[in-house]
């Protein structure tokens, strides 16, 4: 942790990556749900 305290830019980097991971996982889930819906419609 002292490393992160003196190198605050890495905290920003981690924050940005966590946000992107959240958005990416959400996108994946929406994509999967939509595929499920499409398979029901096209049946």
């Amino acid at each position: 942790m002292p490393f992160l305290t003196s190198n605050a830019i890495y905290v920003v980097l981690i924050t940005a990556l966590v946000i992107w991971a959240g958005v990416a996982i959400y996108l994946q889930r929406v994509d999967a749900r939509l595929r499920e819906l499409e398979s029901r419609i096209d049946r």
């Binding site: 980097l13 992107w20 939509l34 499409e38 419609i41």
Partner: protein
């Protein structure tokens, strides 16, 4: 070279964005993984690399504000030094940026130790201020040792220059999105296939999302560069008008019940609306004096188009191209989700409708 790289990033994004060709189909998993990873790479490359200028930057900075230190990339050529009467050490070094310009560093014991820990002839980023001459610099702090990538120091912009990797791709891709919206609008009017209308509205919708993000990121940047979030700079005014024009597009769509009529009118509107885009994005902000880079009273054409400015060095060009690629893929993913949603909604309505 600069334009080749930028064009390559954008075109590669468009090419991979269109694979598989039919935009109505789900994107394959390898495609989605590339999109996710490339954005992660952009985030890392935009935030991690330290800024590092040259000692010339430090000399110029000194003329504007002598109290401000500048991060510079240097190599200590010799580590033995004896202290003078003030307890500082004079260390011979060379500028790693400007053709090995020989300089002297004046440093106190802790800074000297940090430079010595890095080793002789190892590049280090040190925050310096010009001292008694243009070749002697007071070293305040060691920022990074042997950095893999560094970004150029731009006076007056500094860390804020990193916005380039996020803000500019947003507005560039929004422009492309509006172009695609027009192209699929034309395609609808010619062939009357409702799928073209799905694509046209998806492009306009995700394009508007990107334009809003460009506006918001720009406003945050403007607060710290110009002093206020919004000050009706020509660039801000033109994007505001652009957002109004496309706001009217969605208003038009939501006000028409009949599907074919809605598709016909909004396709026509998408074509007319795009006619204003090149003027509002590329022409107007360059004709009028303003604060945004590339305005009429800017000494350069802005970092991206200028042929003389070196503020966009090769490192930044590469990162910027990856950013264009990454955000283009994300754009196509979002648009794809929207297109498929439009289609799914249409199909369910059809199945509910007994006729």
């Amino acid at each position: 070279m600069k334009f080749v790289l930028m064009l390559a990033g954008s075109l590669l994004g468009l090419a991979i964005g269109y694979i598989p060709r039919r935009l109505h189909q789900p994107r394959p998993s390898w495609w989605r993984i590339i999109a996710i990873l490339s954005v992660a790479v952009v985030v890392v490359l935009a935030i991690y690399p330290p800024l590092a200028g040259s000692t010339i930057d430090a000399v110029i900075q000194h003329r504007a504000d002598s109290t401000k230190s500048v991060p510079v990339l240097i190599r200590a050529t010799q580590l033995q030094a004896s202290p003078d009467e003030q307890g500082t050490f004079l260390l011979p070094a060379e500028d790693a940026r400007v053709a090995k310009r020989p300089i002297m560093l004046r440093a106190y014991q802790p800074v000297l130790d940090a430079i010595a820990a890095a080793g002789e002839n190892v590049p280090v980023v040190v925050r310096v201020r010009r001292a008694e001459s243009d070749l002697v610099f007071q070293a305040d702090e060691v920022v990074a040792v042997d950095p893999v990538v560094t970004l150029p120091y731009i006076m007056g912009l500094e860390e804020r220059s990193r916005i380039l990797f996020f803000h500019v791709p947003m507005s560039w891709i929004a422009t492309i999105a509006y172009l695609l919206s027009m192209i699929y609008g034309i395609s609808y009017l010619r062939k009357r296939t409702i799928e073209s209308d799905d694509i046209s509205v998806a492009m306009a919708s995700v394009g508007t999302l990107y334009a809003i993000l460009a506006t918001l990121t720009g406003a945050v940047w403007a607060k710290f560069n110009w002093g206020s979030f919004w000050n009706w700079d020509p660039r801000q005014t033109s994007i505001f008008i652009l957002l109004l024009i496309y706001g009217a597009y969605f208003l038009l769509r939501s006000s028409i019940e009949d599907r074919a009529r809605r598709a016909r009118l909004s396709s026509a509107y998408a074509i007319v609306a795009f006619a204003t885009v090149p003027f509002l994005v590329f022409v107007l902000p360059r004709l009028l004096p303003g604060l945004h880079p590339g305005s009429a009273d800017d000494s350069t054409a802005g970092p991206l188009l200028s042929l003389t400015s070196d503020s966009l060095n090769s490192t930044k060009q590469v990162i910027y191209s990856i950013a264009l690629f990454a955000f283009t893929l994300v754009f196509f993913w979002l648009a794809n989700l929207r297109i498929r949603t439009e289609r799914a909604m249409r199909m369910t309505r059809v199945s509910e409708d007994p006729s």
